[in-house]
């Protein structure tokens, strides 16, 4: 291209950011209305917001893809995208940290205190004499406003299978990366396809696990702190798997269409970084939520 590295790329004005803000505004405002007994207007605004937001994502990323394929991006833009994605992933790590922190806190402080050990022993004696601290916490201090779970999650079985699935999806995406770097498009497409498929299986299995939890085990969001931490952590993780799989899916379609070169394929790398991040979070989850 004529624009060599000595030139910076500054994009033209764009309406997508504003559209995105309007979309999120409708989405969040609508959800808030829905939650406060304004169901009709709320769900309408939510739906519209969601549509606008998804439209924005398609439009914005479409523009970026077009610019990229049009040869607009030099190494500097590539560098900006890399830093941007890396720090975005870091912010996601910190989001999960809040929930991991909560899990750590209840297991090491709140539940033992309620059960009479540690610094606040009197709490047990005076307020919850009948309560016995265990983990997973099935017998609650006061279950009158919560559902009582019959059974906790087992690490063996589905979660272990899911761990294997995610780990192997990490391998397949790396294999695809080798493919793209050495110009083997078939390997790239196969690797990506496998990864997306593994991601989909993971989500399917997790949905199955949730179903069992809600029906057979009576383990729910409302089953006290064990259910709360379990579903929030695995739920947000699942949502991230979904996002990652969609990203990889888009990259897959682009690969099929012949985008990317052995040296120029940031979108692929961004999606695969994200995938590895989701992978690592799962390992943390598997250890702290299921095993310990």
């Amino acid at each position: 291209m004529e624009h060599a590295a000595s030139h910076y790329y500054v994009p033209q004005p764009s309406y997508w950011p504003l559209v995105g803000s309007i979309g999120l505004f409708c989405l969040t405002g609508g959800s808030a209305l829905l939650l406060t007994d304004h169901a009709a207007g709320g769900s309408f605004a939510m739906g519209v917001g969601l549509l606008i937001f998804v439209g924005m994502l398609c439009g914005w990323f479409g523009t970026v893809i077009m610019e990229s394929e049009g040869g607009r991006y030099n190494d500097q833009v590539d560098g900006s995208f890399r830093w941007g994605m890396a720090w975005f992933i870091f912010s996601e790590v910190m989001f999960f940290a809040a929930f991991f922190g909560a899990l750590f806190y209840v297991r090491h402080f709140a539940v033992p205190w309620l059960g009479g050990s540690g610094d606040k022993g009197l709490t047990h004696e005076i307020l919850w004499p009948a309560f016995a601290a265990t983990w997973p916490l099935l017998q609650l201090p006061d279950a009158s406003h919560f559902t009582v779970a019959r059974q906790a999650m087992e690490a063996a079985g589905l979660p272990a299978v899911n761990t294997l699935i995610l780990l192997s999806s990490g391998a397949t995406v790396t294999w695809a990366h080798w493919g793209i770097k050495s110009g083997k498009r078939r390997q790239l497409i196969a690797g990506l396809g496998l990864t997306v498929a593994l991601g989909a299986i993971f989500i399917g299995l997790q949905a199955h696990e949730y179903w069992d939890a809600y029906t057979l085990q009576n383990l729910r969001l409302s089953s006290g702190i064990y259910g709360s931490t379990f579903f929030m952590l695995t739920g947000f993780h699942g949502a991230h798997v979904l996002i990652g799989a969609i990203m990889l899916g888009v990259v897959l379609v682009r690969s099929i269409r012949g985008h990317f070169t052995p040296t120029h394929h940031f979108a692929f790398e961004a999606a695969s970084w994200y995938w590895h991040f989701v992978d690592v979070v799962w390992l943390g989850l598997f250890v702290t939520v299921y095993l310990l």
């Binding site: 309620l114 606040k120 009197l122 709490t123 005076i126 307020l127 201090p141 009158s144 406003h145």
Partner: protein
């Protein structure tokens, strides 16, 4: 706004002149932290003064140096800028010296903290429960318990547009109906918890505040060494009544304290007695009006209309006009997940019966129902 603008300015100026001039405003006025009447509070006071003076000295040195160079090194005086921009020795010095100062502060602070945490060997234990917006005191092992509310005079003056000048009310917002009483010279252990939201129990003269947290118990102790009346307030935002839940603690010499204990035992026996007889309509309505004003009006408002979106109206409420059982249940057990607290433990049978009778007959809810203490007693089982 009723009054016109110039009139307001005049009022303002007048009020200003009056206030800044009157002696009673500044009379019991303090600039500094209170020294208090416990070893803890004196420790805190000493530490406060130490830190304060250290800061003052540092400030004088730093701002002094600044003032010196502002004066002497200004361009208008012909100062020519030097060009130095580093000096490792100086920089090391002004890193280490502040650190050493901090060590000087940290040592007494550590000792004080350790002493405050030692609640062992207490002579007496009082459990304190924070409620929206009152305190409940249980003397463990003594079978005495009572609720402590903002006193009526303050409550009346504190109403918006009451027309009562707070300055005419003695101990405005710092007075209660039932103060908590402790013996002088004894180590008293306080156990804090709350039934609805977080409150915080603070009497400055005791030298600490501690949060009262629903579902957990916190401990703290005090040994008051001078008889007297000590006042404090709730210090954790707990809703609309947060500014209106004071604490009054009276420290008495042992003999007087024993007399007070005996009175309390007698009083609680009497309170229980009222629950056994049948009350007349007038008695119920009078008592109910009183209980309502004290316990319910803060949320549901004196006119029973509540605050839309926050506190439901009782006027015309389906619960109040509906089946009695549900109404009793709502008042005794509250509604979890909302601000409506359970009153079963706070109010006696007679009080609950009376307030329900009141609600069912006030503000045009004329159901005509009467509720007797015996019905509440039955509902407790």
């Amino acid at each position: 706004m009723e009054s016109t603008f110039p009139e307001q300015i005049r009022k303002l100026a007048l009020a200003l002149a009056c206030m800044l001039a009157t002696r009673e405003v500044w009379a019991d006025y303090k600039l500094n932290l209170t020294e208090g009447v416990t070893s803890i509070s004196r420790e805190a006071y000493r530490l406060h003064m130490l830190a304060l003076w250290i800061c003052v000295v540092i400030a004088i040195v730093v701002f002094g140096a600044m003032a010196w160079s502002i004066y002497h090194h200004r361009k208008s005086r012909g100062a020519v800028a030097a060009s130095f921009h580093d000096n490792t020795k100086v920089e090391i010095a002004w890193t280490i010296v502040p650190f050493l100062i901090l060590v000087v502060l940290a040592i007494p602070a550590t000792n004080a903290l350790i002493a405050m945490n030692d609640t062992s060997n207490a002579d007496l234990t009082i459990k304190i429960t924070g409620l929206q917006w009152r305190w409940r005191y249980d003397y463990l092992k003594e079978d005495i318990s009572f609720v402590s509310n903002l006193d009526d005079k303050s409550a009346a003056a504190a109403k918006q547009g009451s027309g009562i000048d707070p300055r005419t009310v003695e101990h405005y917002l710092l007075n209660v109906d039932n103060p908590v009483v402790v013996p002088v010279g004894k180590k008293v252990r306080f156990l804090l918890n709350a039934s609805d939201v977080i409150h915080s129990w603070w009497v400055p003269d005791l030298g600490f505040k501690k949060d009262a947290i629903p579902g957990f118990v916190n401990e703290i102790w005090a040994r008051v060494d001078t008889p007297g009346t000590y006042r404090g307030q709730c210090t954790e935002l707990c809703g609309v009544g947060h500014g209106f839940m004071p604490i009054v603690l009276i420290a008495m010499n042992e003999p007087e304290y024993l007399v007070w204990l005996a009175q309390q035992h007698a009083a609680s026996a009497k309170a229980r007695a009222g629950g056994d007889r049948t009350w007349t309509r007038e008695e119920l309505l009078a008592k109910g009006d009183e209980v309502y004003a004290k316990n319910c009006a803060a949320c549901h408002q004196p006119n029973g209309e509540g605050i839309p979106g926050a506190f439901k109206a009782l006027k015309g409420s389906p619960v109040v006009k509906g089946p009695l059982a549900e109404h009793i249940d709502r008042v005794m057990n509250g509604k979890p997940g909302t601000a409506m607290p359970p009153f079963a433990a706070q109010l006696s049978d007679a009080e609950i019966a009376a307030v329900i009778t009141h609600e069912r007959n006030a503000w045009g809810n004329n159901t005509g129902d009467l509720v007797q203490p015996a019905q509440i007693k039955a509902a407790r089982k």
